[in-house]
Amino acid sequence: MKFKSRHLLFIVAVWSALQAQEVIWKSLSEDGLHDPENPAIELLQQPAEALSQLPPDTVGNRVLWNRALREQYIQPRTNIYPETKIEVIDMDIIMEKTGELPLVLFPHRPHTEWLDCTNCHDKIFVRKVDANPVNMFAILSGQYCGQCHGAVAFPLTECNRCHSVPRSTFTGKPGVQSRAN
């Protein structure tokens, strides 16, 4: 059984690596969306021009957006109105219903750098550990984590970025992780 799941993960990994190789940033006139006959296309920025300056990734926009933010390659605005409250929290949550796969570590910090609490709570996730019937089918069909991952944030082919805590080395308790650990 163990062998089987590793085997499958391997196939998925190879598949996404192959995909990664063939795609680069298409020019706007060849991306299948922009109308090449629109004279104003010349005025739009080409993705390659901006994205090639940022820390590279193999999937999505080919940019490690969190690193770009953390290392200040980019400094996106947090708000437009001065009175808007900005809240960033540092709370890791370990989710254990992952079958044989490594446990899922959900980090609040990078998420709340980009997002507001209300983007997830309670629209996508009830604000309580283990209170959400999250599973991989629902995620793959665009719910829970899949509302953003696979749409705007890194895609769902990257299993191990979420399933990042090996069962063999994890000795603590799932749920909210205290910093002391």
């Binding site: 089987k4 799941s5 598949w15 969306l33 983007n119 089918f137 629902a138 665009g142 749409a151 705007v152």
Partner: protein, 144 residues
């Protein structure tokens, strides 16, 4: 809300025993989902807005997430400015934009160039469907 759009595979899965089988299904679903993206070359997370454009003889609107997220965090649009996180869910019209709503909250000659630059926003090919592009996995149950 959530139950209504569960894929039919959800019902089928209860009859499948053993997590190995389940993992197989999930991996296959993942593979199918990525398979669909092979022919797609649009930049990841571009949004096509075409609820009204084609009907009114203007090119559909292409909204680039990559360009905007370099400048603004998600929370600016999806919390402060109130854009729903679902392609096609916001009832954006040109009148509202000129009134300073939606795109017009920024494209007002102050935060960004104004509404007179029609073809910077209306830049898509005719006939495109509203939705998120460059991607695949959130296409919903119909995809796989």
């Amino acid at each position: 809300m959530i139950q209504g759009i569960m894929p039919s595979t959800m019902k089928a899965r209860n009859s499948i025993k053993g997590s190995g089988r389940r993992l197989l299904l999930i991996s296959l679903a993942g593979l199918c989902a990525t398979g669909f993206s092979a022919g797609v070359s649009a930049e990841y997370a571009d949004v096509v807005l075409n609820r009204l454009s084609d009907k009114n003889d203007v090119r559909p609107v292409i909204f680039p997430h990559w360009f905007h997220r370099i400048r603004f965090r998600c929370k600016v649009c999806h919390n402060e400015l109130g854009f729903e996180m679902r392609a096609g869910a916001n009832e954006i019209t040109m009148g509202k934009i000129i009134d300073g709503q939606y795109c017009g909250l920024c494209h007002n000659d102050e935060i960004a160039w104004g509404v007179d630059n029609c073809s910077l926003c209306h830049s898509g090919k005719h006939g495109l469907k509203t939705g998120i592009r460059g991607s695949n996995q959130t296409g919903g149950p119909g995809r796989w």
